[in-house]
């Protein structure tokens, strides 16, 4: 069997012998673990230099009033030193309860949460439904699978672009709707339709990953369990409820977590679908990007502060989610 892999969720119960001196411990630890350290070194190095360091710098920026007019920059041959100042938590205060904070932050916040919840729910249910369909004995199963993962294989850029053509006024989708005598919303400019369009496109983009992951999960559930359930007279629904869902628990918890993280931070779909032209449909991420790069002067400090707020939301969510999972795990044995 494989090693007890509790990695991230494990309780970290390594046996503790009486502690020798620090140098001694370091030496011993080095002798015992140097292979491990050699193998993780490149990643740790890259993460340290390009993630931790920028992160620390980013957090520092949020405590200043940095923008593109007062940051260090080079114009021609002249080096202009940075002149921004430390302002403490003013940026956060301004974002969270400053004047107009509802329009600038809270409206985007509500939309981002709704967006994440709706998209992940759609991804998961549709992905699971398709995975269940594909997991049956069915003629042409491989062909279906190939066709259904296809959206995943096309770069997001291309798919979003294609959707943009289809959603445009007079585009394919509205022609079909008009033909059916249904209302033809202007998907790319009406605020409500924009949100619907964004969810539609993101669902299309995200389902294949869920489907494939859940299909893998389904295939790993032993057939004997279903046989046993059937022997006990379980109905199809009961088999789904008491065999399939528990069997998928580990895969589900991973893909839902990743799905939430990715959807929450989804940049490409919104950015490519609307550019900066849809103030109402901007997620916190795209809004932060707009503050930092899409306007003049660029507001680096506020943009980074948004980033820190986003990251905090996700970390809080993940912590609670994992705690909830762990509790469930215990409750279910």
């Amino acid at each position: 069997m494989s090693v007890a892999v509790q990695g991230a969720t494990g309780q970290g119960s390594r046996e503790r012998d009486p502690r020798p001196g620090l140098m001694e411990r370091l030496k011993r630890s080095y002798a015992k673990h140097w292979y491990a350290y050699a193998m993780i070194a490149p990643v740790v190095l890259v993460l340290g230099v390009l993630v931790i360091y920028p992160l620390v710098q980013g957090v520092w920026l949020t405590l200043t009033d940095a923008n593109s007019l007062n940051s260090a920059r080079t114009i021609g041959a002249n080096e202009i030193p940075a002149t921004y100042q430390f302002v403490g938590f003013d940026n956060y205060a301004d974002i969270l309860w400053g004047p107009g904070s509802y329009d600038r932050f809270w409206s985007h916040f509500v939309w981002t949460i709704a967006w994440t919840a709706i998209c992940v729910a759609l991804h998961y249910t549709l992905g699971l439904a398709l995975a269940l369909l594909l997991n049956q004995k069915l003629r042409g199963r491989t062909a279906y699978r190939l066709l259904l993962i296809l959206p995943w294989a096309v770069p997001t850029f291309v798919t979003v672009f294609s959707w943009r053509l289809m959603l445009a006024d007079g585009g394919a989708l509205n022609s079909v709707l008009g033909f059916l005598h249904l209302p033809e919303p202007s998907w790319l400019s009406d605020p409500f339709a924009q949100k619907a369009a964004a969810i539609l496109v993101n669902t299309w983009v995200g389902v294949p990953f869920m489907m494939i992951s859940l299909l893998g999960g389904l295939q790993s559930i032993p057939a004997e369990l279903y046989e046993a359930a059937e022997m006990d007279g379980a109905s199809a629904w009961q088999r789904f409820r008491y065999v399939t869902l528990p069997g998928l628990r580990t895969v589900s918890s991973t893909v839902v977590l990743l799905g939430v993280i990715w959807t929450f931070n989804q940049f490409a779909v919104i950015f490519l679908l609307f550019g900066t032209g849809a103030p109402d449909a901007q997620l916190l991420v795209t809004w932060a990007y707009y503050l930092g790069f899409g306007q003049q002067p660029r507001d680096y400090a506020q943009s980074a502060a948004y980033g820190v707020i986003l990251l905090s939301i996700l970390i809080v969510f993940t912590t609670f989610y994992r705690r909830w999972l762990a509790r469930n795990e215990q409750a279910n044995g």
């Binding site: 015992k32 369909l133 770069p155 895969v251």
Partner: protein, 302 residues
Amino acid sequence: MSTTTERPRVAATAASAPATAGKVRPRGRKSPLATALSHGALITASLIALFPVLWILYVSLGPGKTDYLHPGDILDKMTLSNYTTVLNDTDFFTWFGNSLIVAGVTTVIGVMFAATTGYAVSRMRFPGHRPLMWSLLVTQMFPIAVLIVPMYTIMSTLGLLDTHLGLVLVYSTTTVPYCAWLLKGYFDTIPVEIDEAGRVDGLSPIGTFWRLILPLARPGLAVAAFYSFLTYWAEVPFASTFMLSSDNYTLSVGLQTFVSEHDSQWNLMAATAVMIAIPSALFFYLVQRHLVTGLTAGASKS
């Protein structure tokens, strides 16, 4: 709303299909109705999945800028002129090459580093194991907004702005953690006895990894490679922020030059988009058999 209303139907049939399947029938046999419903749902879903891709292919054959508004007319005047224009009159090949370099190198480096890290995390318990696992997950959460400004500064300090190396490094920060996470799951499914056998035969841990484990993990590696390549083959925000000169543009940045405020050449964009999709589709075709096992081998067993 045609597409949106069709989707719930797919879900509904899926939920009802198992319910109708085999109440009194022997295991593995389904009523013809259930089979028909399954096929119906899968065909609908496949069409929805395929349509946007076919649509862009179709639009790319229309020679006029606004042909996408009158798709019916394209039938009469189908031509490959968009493709020849893009290939002959733009920097397409330069951009294509740049993208290939950046995505290719990112993939190779990413998978290599991710594999060693994933293996170490899967097999060895060392101090710092848990924080490492945790940080692999947390890096997935970084919104680009928090990193992009400081990264921009670091890149410009190091002189890596507008270089391929800079972009590769930036990309590695997000793919490597995810791939390491993915591969850890895959390595977990490879029995530890294999490592032990290698050890007994006198291989060092790195030898075991290289000679025994890597070959066994090929499906997982393929999926990780596919994932990195796909993510960065046409990545937008970083590329458009860090690449400044037309010579260094990647495809996604170059493509944006077709659309400006006064002149939107949708037809050229469509043709380019189709050509961008080709390499990733090829890659996809090569690895698709491994996708199911590669993605979830570990997650379902740990």
